[in-house]
Protein backbone atom coordinates (compact mmCIF):
# COMPACT_ATOMS: atom_id res chain seq x y z
CA UNK A 1 0.00 0.00 0.00
CA UNK A 2 1.44 3.37 -1.03
CA UNK A 3 1.82 6.17 1.42
CA UNK A 4 -0.81 8.31 -0.33
CA UNK A 5 -3.28 5.44 -0.36
CA UNK A 6 -2.58 4.71 3.29
CA UNK A 7 -3.02 8.37 4.18
CA UNK A 8 -6.29 8.50 2.25
CA UNK A 9 -7.56 5.36 3.97
CA UNK A 10 -6.50 6.83 7.29
CA UNK A 11 -8.31 10.08 6.55
CA UNK A 12 -11.46 8.20 5.65
CA UNK A 13 -11.16 6.22 8.88
CA UNK A 14 -10.84 9.36 10.94
CA UNK A 15 -13.75 10.95 9.11
CA UNK A 16 -15.94 7.90 9.74
CA UNK A 17 -14.94 7.99 13.40
CA UNK A 18 -15.81 11.65 13.72
CA UNK A 19 -19.16 11.15 12.01
CA UNK A 20 -19.93 8.23 14.32
CA UNK A 21 -18.87 10.28 17.32
CA UNK A 22 -21.10 13.13 16.17
CA UNK A 23 -24.08 10.83 15.73
CA UNK A 24 -23.57 9.39 19.20
CA UNK A 25 -23.26 12.85 20.67
CA UNK A 26 -26.39 14.14 18.91
CA UNK A 27 -28.36 11.14 20.08
CA UNK A 28 -27.22 11.72 23.65
CA UNK A 29 -27.99 15.43 23.48
CA UNK A 30 -31.46 14.80 22.15
CA UNK A 31 -32.30 12.60 25.10
CA UNK A 32 -31.50 15.14 27.82
CA UNK A 33 -31.73 14.31 31.48
CA UNK A 34 -33.75 17.15 32.94
CA UNK A 35 -30.77 18.81 34.57
CA UNK A 36 -29.00 19.35 31.25
CA UNK A 37 -31.76 19.62 28.66
CA UNK A 38 -30.97 20.20 25.03
CA UNK A 39 -28.94 23.25 24.24
CA UNK A 40 -27.12 23.73 27.52
CA UNK A 41 -23.34 23.92 27.34
CA UNK A 42 -21.15 24.11 30.42
CA UNK A 43 -17.60 24.78 31.60
CA UNK A 44 -16.18 24.33 35.08
CA UNK A 45 -14.04 27.23 36.24
CA UNK A 46 -11.63 27.37 39.16
CA UNK A 47 -12.14 30.46 41.28
CA UNK A 48 -14.79 32.52 43.05
CA UNK A 49 -18.18 32.50 41.32
CA UNK A 50 -19.00 35.90 42.83
CA UNK A 51 -16.06 37.47 41.07
CA UNK A 52 -17.03 35.87 37.78
CA UNK A 53 -20.31 37.76 37.66
CA UNK A 54 -19.38 40.79 39.74
CA UNK A 55 -19.32 43.47 37.02
CA UNK A 56 -20.89 41.51 34.22
CA UNK A 57 -19.42 38.30 32.91
CA UNK A 58 -15.94 38.21 31.36
CA UNK A 59 -16.05 39.98 28.01
CA UNK A 60 -16.32 36.95 25.69
CA UNK A 61 -19.48 35.80 27.48
CA UNK A 62 -20.81 39.27 28.25
CA UNK A 63 -20.90 40.06 24.53
CA UNK A 64 -23.54 37.34 24.03
CA UNK A 65 -25.40 38.02 27.26
CA UNK A 66 -28.64 39.22 25.66
CA UNK A 67 -28.83 36.08 23.55
CA UNK A 68 -28.16 33.65 26.39
CA UNK A 69 -29.67 32.07 29.44
CA UNK A 70 -26.88 31.60 31.99
CA UNK A 71 -26.88 29.59 35.20
CA UNK A 72 -23.99 29.40 37.67
CA UNK A 73 -23.77 26.47 40.09
CA UNK A 74 -21.07 25.49 42.57
CA UNK A 75 -18.93 22.56 41.40
CA UNK A 76 -18.43 19.66 43.79
CA UNK A 77 -15.33 19.44 45.94
CA UNK A 78 -12.58 21.90 45.19
CA UNK A 79 -13.40 22.28 41.50
CA UNK A 80 -14.76 25.83 41.57
CA UNK A 81 -18.04 26.61 39.84
CA UNK A 82 -19.98 25.57 36.77
CA UNK A 83 -21.20 28.02 34.17
CA UNK A 84 -24.12 26.63 32.17
CA UNK A 85 -25.45 28.60 29.24
CA UNK A 86 -27.71 28.16 26.24
CA UNK A 87 -28.93 30.33 23.41
CA UNK A 88 -32.41 31.70 23.97
CA UNK A 89 -35.12 30.46 21.63
CA UNK A 90 -34.98 32.51 18.42
CA UNK A 91 -32.02 34.65 19.54
CA UNK A 92 -29.38 35.53 16.96
CA UNK A 93 -25.64 35.88 17.51
CA UNK A 94 -24.60 38.05 14.58
CA UNK A 95 -23.67 35.98 11.57
CA UNK A 96 -22.22 33.19 13.65
CA UNK A 97 -23.66 29.77 14.28
CA UNK A 98 -25.21 30.23 17.74
CA UNK A 99 -23.94 26.98 19.21
CA UNK A 100 -20.41 27.54 17.92
CA UNK A 101 -20.49 31.09 19.25
CA UNK A 102 -21.65 29.82 22.64
CA UNK A 103 -18.91 27.19 22.89
CA UNK A 104 -16.29 29.75 21.90
CA UNK A 105 -17.60 32.29 24.43
CA UNK A 106 -17.59 29.77 27.26
CA UNK A 107 -14.06 28.57 26.51
CA UNK A 108 -12.72 32.13 26.20
CA UNK A 109 -14.55 33.42 29.28
CA UNK A 110 -13.16 30.56 31.37
CA UNK A 111 -9.65 31.16 30.08
CA UNK A 112 -9.80 34.92 30.60
CA UNK A 113 -11.11 34.49 34.14
CA UNK A 114 -8.62 31.79 35.14
CA UNK A 115 -5.48 33.08 33.44
CA UNK A 116 -6.09 36.77 32.72
CA UNK A 117 -5.86 36.44 28.95
CA UNK A 118 -7.28 34.65 25.95
CA UNK A 119 -4.46 32.74 24.34
CA UNK A 120 -3.77 33.79 20.76
CA UNK A 121 -2.58 30.99 18.52
CA UNK A 122 -1.93 32.94 15.31
CA UNK A 123 0.04 34.30 13.56
CA UNK A 124 2.64 31.61 14.00
CA UNK A 125 5.67 30.57 11.99
CA UNK A 126 5.09 27.92 9.35
CA UNK A 127 6.57 26.74 6.10
CA UNK A 128 4.90 26.33 2.74
CA UNK A 129 1.29 25.21 3.08
CA UNK A 130 0.76 23.01 0.04
CA UNK A 131 -2.80 22.62 -1.20
CA UNK A 132 -4.32 19.22 -0.45
CA UNK A 133 -7.62 17.73 0.58
CA UNK A 134 -6.24 16.52 3.90
CA UNK A 135 -4.66 19.93 4.52
CA UNK A 136 -7.97 21.65 3.87
CA UNK A 137 -9.66 19.31 6.34
CA UNK A 138 -7.07 20.13 9.02
CA UNK A 139 -7.36 23.88 8.34
CA UNK A 140 -11.15 23.72 8.63
CA UNK A 141 -10.96 21.63 11.80
CA UNK A 142 -8.63 24.19 13.37
CA UNK A 143 -10.73 27.17 12.27
CA UNK A 144 -13.79 25.58 13.89
CA UNK A 145 -12.04 24.00 16.88
CA UNK A 146 -13.15 26.42 19.59
CA UNK A 147 -16.73 26.26 18.45
CA UNK A 148 -16.80 22.48 18.09
CA UNK A 149 -16.06 19.58 20.39
CA UNK A 150 -18.16 17.97 23.07
CA UNK A 151 -18.56 21.07 25.27
Amino acid sequence: MGVKTAAAVGAVGVAVGLVARTLVRERKESVGDGRHPEGWKAVTILGDAGEFAADGYPAPLERLRDALEVRIDPAPGDKGFEVHARVREGAEVGDDDPVQALRTALRDAKQLFETGEVLRAKPRPHGHRSVSLLGAVVDKAEDDAKGEGVL
Partner: protein, 389 residues
Protein backbone atom coordinates in the same frame (compact mmCIF):
# COMPACT_ATOMS: atom_id res chain seq x y z
CA UNK B 1 14.35 32.50 10.45
CA UNK B 2 15.18 28.92 9.55
CA UNK B 3 12.94 26.08 10.74
CA UNK B 4 12.51 22.38 10.12
CA UNK B 5 9.08 21.80 8.61
CA UNK B 6 7.02 18.66 8.11
CA UNK B 7 6.02 18.71 4.45
CA UNK B 8 4.29 15.33 4.16
CA UNK B 9 4.57 11.72 5.27
CA UNK B 10 8.27 11.01 5.86
CA UNK B 11 9.22 14.35 4.27
CA UNK B 12 11.07 17.18 6.02
CA UNK B 13 12.59 20.41 4.76
CA UNK B 14 14.47 23.29 6.33
CA UNK B 15 12.55 26.38 5.23
CA UNK B 16 12.66 30.10 5.84
CA UNK B 17 9.63 31.07 7.93
CA UNK B 18 8.42 34.17 9.77
CA UNK B 19 9.91 34.93 13.19
CA UNK B 20 7.54 34.41 16.12
CA UNK B 21 6.33 37.42 18.07
CA UNK B 22 4.82 38.18 21.48
CA UNK B 23 1.06 37.66 21.11
CA UNK B 24 0.04 37.51 24.78
CA UNK B 25 1.37 39.35 27.80
CA UNK B 26 2.53 36.10 29.43
CA UNK B 27 4.69 35.11 26.42
CA UNK B 28 8.42 35.06 26.02
CA UNK B 29 10.47 34.55 22.88
CA UNK B 30 13.34 32.10 23.23
CA UNK B 31 16.37 31.83 20.96
CA UNK B 32 16.75 28.08 20.66
CA UNK B 33 20.22 26.83 21.58
CA UNK B 34 19.53 23.09 21.43
CA UNK B 35 16.49 21.13 20.28
CA UNK B 36 16.26 17.37 20.13
CA UNK B 37 14.36 14.73 18.23
CA UNK B 38 12.04 12.57 20.31
CA UNK B 39 10.66 9.15 19.50
CA UNK B 40 7.16 10.55 19.50
CA UNK B 41 8.14 12.93 16.67
CA UNK B 42 8.49 9.85 14.48
CA UNK B 43 4.75 9.22 14.84
CA UNK B 44 4.15 12.69 13.38
CA UNK B 45 6.77 12.22 10.70
CA UNK B 46 5.30 8.91 9.62
CA UNK B 47 1.77 10.22 9.27
CA UNK B 48 0.35 8.31 12.21
CA UNK B 49 -1.15 11.49 13.66
CA UNK B 50 -3.72 12.72 11.15
CA UNK B 51 -3.90 16.38 12.22
CA UNK B 52 -0.52 17.44 10.82
CA UNK B 53 -0.40 20.15 8.14
CA UNK B 54 2.30 20.64 5.52
CA UNK B 55 4.50 23.47 6.74
CA UNK B 56 4.18 22.68 10.46
CA UNK B 57 7.39 23.34 12.42
CA UNK B 58 8.40 20.22 14.39
CA UNK B 59 10.14 19.93 17.77
CA UNK B 60 8.99 20.02 21.39
CA UNK B 61 12.09 19.35 23.52
CA UNK B 62 14.41 22.34 23.74
CA UNK B 63 16.52 24.79 25.67
CA UNK B 64 17.43 28.36 24.86
CA UNK B 65 17.97 31.97 25.85
CA UNK B 66 15.20 34.48 26.54
CA UNK B 67 15.35 37.33 24.01
CA UNK B 68 11.99 39.05 24.60
CA UNK B 69 9.40 39.06 27.38
CA UNK B 70 5.72 39.98 27.51
CA UNK B 71 4.53 42.64 29.95
CA UNK B 72 3.04 40.14 32.43
CA UNK B 73 6.12 37.92 32.70
CA UNK B 74 7.71 38.15 36.15
CA UNK B 75 10.04 35.14 36.46
CA UNK B 76 12.22 35.63 33.43
CA UNK B 77 14.38 38.36 31.94
CA UNK B 78 16.17 38.78 28.66
CA UNK B 79 19.35 36.71 28.76
CA UNK B 80 18.04 33.97 31.05
CA UNK B 81 19.00 30.45 30.04
CA UNK B 82 15.81 28.39 30.21
CA UNK B 83 14.61 24.89 29.57
CA UNK B 84 10.96 24.74 28.54
CA UNK B 85 8.49 21.99 29.33
CA UNK B 86 7.14 20.47 26.11
CA UNK B 87 3.56 20.77 27.36
CA UNK B 88 1.87 24.16 27.55
CA UNK B 89 0.02 24.67 30.81
CA UNK B 90 -1.54 27.76 32.35
CA UNK B 91 -0.77 26.94 35.98
CA UNK B 92 -4.17 28.30 37.06
CA UNK B 93 -6.89 25.81 36.11
CA UNK B 94 -8.00 22.94 38.34
CA UNK B 95 -5.82 20.42 36.51
CA UNK B 96 -2.69 22.56 36.86
CA UNK B 97 -3.34 23.29 40.53
CA UNK B 98 -3.59 19.53 41.03
CA UNK B 99 -0.24 19.01 39.25
CA UNK B 100 -1.88 17.34 36.25
CA UNK B 101 -0.21 19.86 33.98
CA UNK B 102 -0.47 18.05 30.66
CA UNK B 103 -4.23 18.05 31.14
CA UNK B 104 -4.39 21.86 31.35
CA UNK B 105 -7.75 23.28 30.33
CA UNK B 106 -6.23 26.37 28.76
CA UNK B 107 -3.06 25.38 26.90
CA UNK B 108 -4.73 23.99 23.82
CA UNK B 109 -6.54 26.54 21.63
CA UNK B 110 -7.85 23.71 19.43
CA UNK B 111 -9.57 21.81 22.25
CA UNK B 112 -12.52 20.95 20.04
CA UNK B 113 -10.38 18.61 17.90
CA UNK B 114 -9.18 16.23 20.64
CA UNK B 115 -12.58 16.41 22.30
CA UNK B 116 -14.01 14.79 19.19
CA UNK B 117 -11.28 12.14 19.23
CA UNK B 118 -10.91 11.42 22.95
CA UNK B 119 -13.89 12.96 24.73
CA UNK B 120 -11.76 15.58 26.52
CA UNK B 121 -8.80 17.70 25.48
CA UNK B 122 -5.27 17.56 26.92
CA UNK B 123 -3.17 20.72 27.07
CA UNK B 124 -1.10 21.96 24.16
CA UNK B 125 2.33 20.79 23.05
CA UNK B 126 4.90 22.51 20.86
CA UNK B 127 5.22 21.14 17.33
CA UNK B 128 2.83 18.31 17.96
CA UNK B 129 -0.04 18.52 15.46
CA UNK B 130 -3.13 20.65 15.38
CA UNK B 131 -4.93 18.33 17.79
CA UNK B 132 -2.52 19.57 20.47
CA UNK B 133 -2.84 23.22 19.60
CA UNK B 134 -0.98 23.67 16.32
CA UNK B 135 1.85 25.40 18.21
CA UNK B 136 5.00 26.04 16.19
CA UNK B 137 7.80 23.74 17.29
CA UNK B 138 11.34 24.21 18.52
CA UNK B 139 13.33 22.99 15.52
CA UNK B 140 13.78 26.65 14.64
CA UNK B 141 15.96 29.60 15.54
CA UNK B 142 13.27 31.17 17.75
CA UNK B 143 10.13 29.97 19.48
CA UNK B 144 7.24 31.66 21.25
CA UNK B 145 6.59 30.30 24.76
CA UNK B 146 3.14 31.14 26.18
CA UNK B 147 2.47 31.09 29.95
CA UNK B 148 6.22 31.52 30.31
CA UNK B 149 6.26 31.93 34.08
CA UNK B 150 4.75 28.45 34.29
CA UNK B 151 6.53 26.58 31.50
CA UNK B 152 10.06 27.99 31.31
CA UNK B 153 12.60 27.07 33.99
CA UNK B 154 15.90 28.81 34.59
CA UNK B 155 18.81 26.40 34.24
CA UNK B 156 21.12 26.43 37.27
CA UNK B 157 24.70 27.52 36.85
CA UNK B 158 26.95 24.57 36.28
CA UNK B 159 24.41 22.43 34.40
CA UNK B 160 25.44 22.18 30.77
CA UNK B 161 23.09 22.84 27.89
CA UNK B 162 23.54 19.27 26.72
CA UNK B 163 22.38 17.94 30.08
CA UNK B 164 19.59 20.43 30.82
CA UNK B 165 18.08 19.97 27.35
CA UNK B 166 16.54 16.69 28.42
CA UNK B 167 14.79 18.29 31.39
CA UNK B 168 12.36 19.58 28.78
CA UNK B 169 10.74 16.21 28.12
CA UNK B 170 12.69 12.93 28.30
CA UNK B 171 13.68 13.27 31.97
CA UNK B 172 10.32 14.44 33.39
CA UNK B 173 8.42 11.97 31.24
CA UNK B 174 10.55 9.08 32.40
CA UNK B 175 10.47 10.23 36.01
CA UNK B 176 6.70 10.48 35.87
CA UNK B 177 6.46 6.86 34.76
CA UNK B 178 8.41 5.73 37.79
CA UNK B 179 6.67 8.12 40.19
CA UNK B 180 3.07 7.64 39.09
CA UNK B 181 3.75 3.98 38.36
CA UNK B 182 4.17 3.77 42.12
CA UNK B 183 7.77 2.59 42.39
CA UNK B 184 8.61 1.83 46.02
CA UNK B 185 11.92 1.04 47.71
CA UNK B 186 12.78 -2.60 47.09
CA UNK B 187 10.66 -2.93 43.95
CA UNK B 188 11.66 -4.71 40.79
CA UNK B 189 10.88 -2.55 37.77
CA UNK B 190 10.87 -3.48 34.08
CA UNK B 191 11.07 -0.80 31.41
CA UNK B 192 10.22 -1.45 27.77
CA UNK B 193 12.32 0.79 25.49
CA UNK B 194 15.90 2.01 25.99
CA UNK B 195 15.50 5.33 24.21
CA UNK B 196 15.77 8.63 26.04
CA UNK B 197 12.48 8.31 27.90
CA UNK B 198 13.01 4.65 28.82
CA UNK B 199 16.50 5.39 30.16
CA UNK B 200 15.15 8.28 32.23
CA UNK B 201 12.35 6.07 33.58
CA UNK B 202 14.93 3.49 34.61
CA UNK B 203 17.10 6.12 36.33
CA UNK B 204 14.05 7.57 38.03
CA UNK B 205 13.06 4.15 39.33
CA UNK B 206 16.55 3.60 40.76
CA UNK B 207 16.57 7.02 42.44
CA UNK B 208 13.15 6.27 43.93
CA UNK B 209 14.61 3.19 45.55
CA UNK B 210 13.91 0.30 43.21
CA UNK B 211 16.14 -2.66 44.02
CA UNK B 212 16.34 -3.99 40.47
CA UNK B 213 15.56 -2.26 37.19
CA UNK B 214 15.61 -4.18 33.91
CA UNK B 215 15.42 -2.33 30.58
CA UNK B 216 14.27 -4.22 27.48
CA UNK B 217 15.21 -3.27 23.90
CA UNK B 218 16.85 -4.71 20.79
CA UNK B 219 19.53 -2.06 20.11
CA UNK B 220 22.72 -3.12 21.82
CA UNK B 221 24.25 0.38 21.84
CA UNK B 222 21.26 1.67 23.80
CA UNK B 223 21.39 -1.25 26.20
CA UNK B 224 25.07 -0.57 26.72
CA UNK B 225 24.24 3.03 27.69
CA UNK B 226 21.70 1.68 30.17
CA UNK B 227 24.30 -0.52 31.81
CA UNK B 228 27.16 1.98 31.78
CA UNK B 229 25.40 5.31 32.45
CA UNK B 230 22.03 4.57 33.99
CA UNK B 231 23.15 1.68 36.18
CA UNK B 232 20.30 -0.70 35.34
CA UNK B 233 20.24 -4.26 34.02
CA UNK B 234 19.29 -4.99 30.41
CA UNK B 235 17.53 -7.59 28.30
CA UNK B 236 17.73 -7.85 24.50
CA UNK B 237 14.37 -9.15 23.34
CA UNK B 238 15.89 -10.54 20.14
CA UNK B 239 18.02 -12.95 22.14
CA UNK B 240 15.86 -13.40 25.24
CA UNK B 241 12.42 -14.80 26.03
CA UNK B 242 11.26 -11.72 27.87
CA UNK B 243 8.31 -13.02 29.87
CA UNK B 244 10.10 -16.18 30.96
CA UNK B 245 13.27 -14.37 31.93
CA UNK B 246 11.40 -11.69 33.86
CA UNK B 247 9.60 -14.42 35.78
CA UNK B 248 12.88 -16.12 36.54
CA UNK B 249 14.51 -12.86 37.65
CA UNK B 250 11.64 -12.23 40.05
CA UNK B 251 11.22 -15.67 41.55
CA UNK B 252 8.10 -16.31 39.50
CA UNK B 253 6.29 -13.15 40.62
CA UNK B 254 6.86 -10.72 37.77
CA UNK B 255 7.99 -7.08 38.10
CA UNK B 256 6.18 -4.90 40.64
CA UNK B 257 6.06 -2.00 38.19
CA UNK B 258 6.15 -2.23 34.39
CA UNK B 259 6.83 0.95 32.43
CA UNK B 260 6.14 1.02 28.71
CA UNK B 261 8.26 3.65 26.91
CA UNK B 262 7.76 2.57 23.31
CA UNK B 263 4.47 3.85 21.92
CA UNK B 264 2.35 3.27 18.86
CA UNK B 265 5.09 1.94 16.56
CA UNK B 266 6.32 -0.91 18.74
CA UNK B 267 8.43 -3.73 17.34
CA UNK B 268 8.73 -7.30 18.53
CA UNK B 269 9.88 -10.66 17.24
CA UNK B 270 6.62 -12.24 18.39
CA UNK B 271 3.77 -13.20 16.11
CA UNK B 272 1.51 -10.49 17.51
CA UNK B 273 3.86 -7.86 16.04
CA UNK B 274 3.11 -9.09 12.52
CA UNK B 275 -0.59 -9.05 13.36
CA UNK B 276 -0.36 -5.49 14.72
CA UNK B 277 1.72 -4.27 11.78
CA UNK B 278 -0.74 -5.58 9.20
CA UNK B 279 -3.73 -4.14 11.02
CA UNK B 280 -2.02 -0.76 11.46
CA UNK B 281 -0.98 -0.50 7.83
CA UNK B 282 -4.52 -1.36 6.74
CA UNK B 283 -5.76 1.28 9.21
CA UNK B 284 -7.84 -1.37 10.97
CA UNK B 285 -6.14 -0.18 14.15
CA UNK B 286 -4.26 3.07 14.52
CA UNK B 287 -1.58 2.01 16.99
CA UNK B 288 0.56 -1.07 17.70
CA UNK B 289 0.22 -1.99 21.39
CA UNK B 290 2.76 -4.82 21.25
CA UNK B 291 4.90 -3.64 24.17
CA UNK B 292 1.89 -2.67 26.29
CA UNK B 293 0.51 -6.20 25.94
CA UNK B 294 3.80 -7.70 27.04
CA UNK B 295 4.04 -5.34 30.01
CA UNK B 296 0.55 -6.34 31.14
CA UNK B 297 1.34 -10.04 30.90
CA UNK B 298 4.68 -9.56 32.68
CA UNK B 299 3.46 -7.53 35.67
CA UNK B 300 3.03 -9.31 38.98
CA UNK B 301 -0.44 -9.78 40.43
CA UNK B 302 -1.56 -6.51 41.97
CA UNK B 303 1.30 -4.65 40.26
CA UNK B 304 1.13 -1.59 38.08
CA UNK B 305 1.68 -0.77 34.42
CA UNK B 306 2.43 2.77 33.32
CA UNK B 307 2.07 3.62 29.63
CA UNK B 308 4.53 6.41 28.77
CA UNK B 309 4.67 5.72 25.03
CA UNK B 310 2.42 7.92 22.91
CA UNK B 311 -0.76 6.42 21.51
CA UNK B 312 -3.28 8.25 19.37
CA UNK B 313 -6.29 6.10 18.71
CA UNK B 314 -7.41 2.52 18.95
CA UNK B 315 -5.73 -0.84 19.48
CA UNK B 316 -6.79 -4.42 19.03
CA UNK B 317 -6.41 -7.47 21.27
CA UNK B 318 -5.96 -5.42 24.39
CA UNK B 319 -5.67 -7.88 27.30
CA UNK B 320 -8.27 -6.34 29.56
CA UNK B 321 -8.87 -9.74 31.12
CA UNK B 322 -5.30 -9.82 32.41
CA UNK B 323 -5.63 -6.28 33.76
CA UNK B 324 -8.81 -7.16 35.61
CA UNK B 325 -8.05 -10.65 36.87
CA UNK B 326 -4.50 -9.82 37.97
CA UNK B 327 -5.74 -6.74 39.78
CA UNK B 328 -3.37 -4.44 37.92
CA UNK B 329 -3.28 -0.68 38.17
CA UNK B 330 -3.00 0.77 34.66
CA UNK B 331 -2.03 4.42 34.39
CA UNK B 332 -0.86 6.72 31.66
CA UNK B 333 -0.32 10.39 30.84
CA UNK B 334 1.46 12.86 28.69
CA UNK B 335 4.14 14.37 30.88
CA UNK B 336 3.24 16.55 33.85
CA UNK B 337 6.69 18.09 33.53
CA UNK B 338 6.13 21.27 35.54
CA UNK B 339 5.78 19.01 38.56
CA UNK B 340 9.26 17.54 38.21
CA UNK B 341 11.53 19.87 36.22
CA UNK B 342 12.86 22.01 39.14
CA UNK B 343 13.71 18.85 41.12
CA UNK B 344 15.30 17.22 38.07
CA UNK B 345 17.48 20.27 37.38
CA UNK B 346 18.70 20.08 40.98
CA UNK B 347 19.51 16.39 40.54
CA UNK B 348 21.33 17.25 37.30
CA UNK B 349 23.37 19.84 39.18
CA UNK B 350 24.32 17.15 41.74
CA UNK B 351 25.23 14.68 38.95
CA UNK B 352 22.55 12.27 40.14
CA UNK B 353 20.87 12.52 36.78
CA UNK B 354 23.12 12.38 33.72
CA UNK B 355 21.59 12.83 30.28
CA UNK B 356 24.14 14.20 27.83
CA UNK B 357 25.05 10.72 26.57
CA UNK B 358 21.63 10.63 24.89
CA UNK B 359 22.77 13.32 22.44
CA UNK B 360 24.74 10.93 20.28
CA UNK B 361 24.56 13.14 17.19
CA UNK B 362 24.71 16.94 17.50
CA UNK B 363 24.45 18.88 14.24
CA UNK B 364 23.37 22.17 12.70
CA UNK B 365 19.67 22.70 12.02
CA UNK B 366 20.43 22.69 8.28
CA UNK B 367 21.24 18.99 8.62
CA UNK B 368 18.06 18.15 10.52
CA UNK B 369 16.45 16.07 7.72
CA UNK B 370 19.53 13.84 7.72
CA UNK B 371 19.46 13.78 11.51
CA UNK B 372 15.87 12.60 11.50
CA UNK B 373 16.73 9.90 8.96
CA UNK B 374 19.48 8.61 11.26
CA UNK B 375 17.19 8.79 14.28
CA UNK B 376 14.35 7.00 12.53
CA UNK B 377 16.53 4.20 11.18
CA UNK B 378 18.72 4.08 14.33
CA UNK B 379 21.84 4.16 12.18
CA UNK B 380 25.32 4.85 13.57
CA UNK B 381 24.07 4.14 17.07
CA UNK B 382 21.83 7.20 17.03
CA UNK B 383 19.89 7.61 20.28
CA UNK B 384 18.93 11.26 19.82
CA UNK B 385 19.79 13.67 17.02
CA UNK B 386 20.17 17.14 18.53
CA UNK B 387 20.12 20.32 16.46
CA UNK B 388 21.89 23.63 17.00
CA UNK B 389 19.87 26.31 15.17
Amino acid sequence: MKALCWTGVNKLEVETVDDPGILNDQDIIVRVLLTTTCGSDLHLLGGYVPTMRAGDVLGHEFLGEVVETGSAVTKHRVGDRVVVCSFISCGKCWYCTNELYSLCDNGNPNAGIPEMLWGQAPGGCYGYSHALGGWAGSHAEYIRVPYADQGAFTVPEGVSNERALFASDAAPTGWMGADLGGVQPGDTVAVWGAGGVGQMAARGALLLGAERVIVIDRYQERLTQVEQVIGAETMNYETSEVLGELRELTGGRGPDVCIEAVGMEAHSDRIDFAYDQIKQQLRLQTDRPTAVREAIFAARKGGSVFVLGVFGGFVDKFPLGAVMNKGLTLRSAQQHGHRYIPMLLERMARDELVTEHLATHVMPLDEAPEGYAMFKEKTDGCVRAVFQP
